[in-house]
Symmetry: C2
Subunit: 125 residues, 2 copies
């Protein structure tokens, strides 16, 4: 692991990622970052996010509808809900999955992801 330097860009990107309560896309992070630091470059966002994923600070996953998303790595086990009306992604605490019921004999399950979709409380009312 190389020694890291604290740059303005890195501070902005880390602040955005660590303060968000839901997964963010590259576009989210880039546009929010540019509000704070107008010269922020998309490539720099990519590089910093990749570094943070490698360092175990962020988790990257691919959402079926929203593409690549990033979230903090230290969150408790949870899944995601995508609202097709406002297109926001929410974090759902806990897990409604019964692994034993799902798994055929001989298969070893090491991990899983669940994506729910529908309409969120705000959009439904």
């Amino acid at each position: 692991m190389k020694k890291q330097r604290t740059t303005q860009q890195r501070k902005v990107i880390e602040e955005i990622c660590f303060s968000s309560t839901c997964p963010l896309s590259i576009d989210d992070i880039e546009s929010r970052g540019k509000e704070i630091l107008a010269t922020l470059n998309r490539v720099t966002v990519y590089r910093n996010l990749n570094r943070m994923v490698d360092a175990g600070e962020l988790t990257r996953f691919s959402h079926p509808e929203k593409g690549t998303l990033y979230e903090q790595a230290n969150r408790p086990h949870h899944h995601h809900f995508f609202c097709k009306t406002c297109e926001a992604t929410f974090e759902l605490p806990g897990c409604g999955l019964s692994l034993k019921k799902q798994t055929p004999a001989g298969f070893i399950v090491e991990g899983h992801e669940v994506f729910l979709n529908g309409v969120c409380a705000a959009c439904a009312s």
Copy 2:
């Protein structure tokens, strides 16, 4: 809906998709198709798959590790298991998800996807 013509390419692509017991990637379909019809072009595969998705014959979904996959649309409800050893994708019948437990008040769940990963029976033994 336009009138469709029955071409060699389309027959090959449909045969591959409709006879597979697990989801296929573009690469899978292209390489299997080229074994039957060597001149088959990747663009033609894309176009036919898109047409079949639009026609409701296939479902396209994005797997977190394998990227875009295609499967028959008329299959009963199921989820997918990805083996990290042989990198195959298996279809798991049924559903181990308890939606009520998972859903916060006010959210309306319309659909869901579950991806399991681990080691399949063949690779585990």
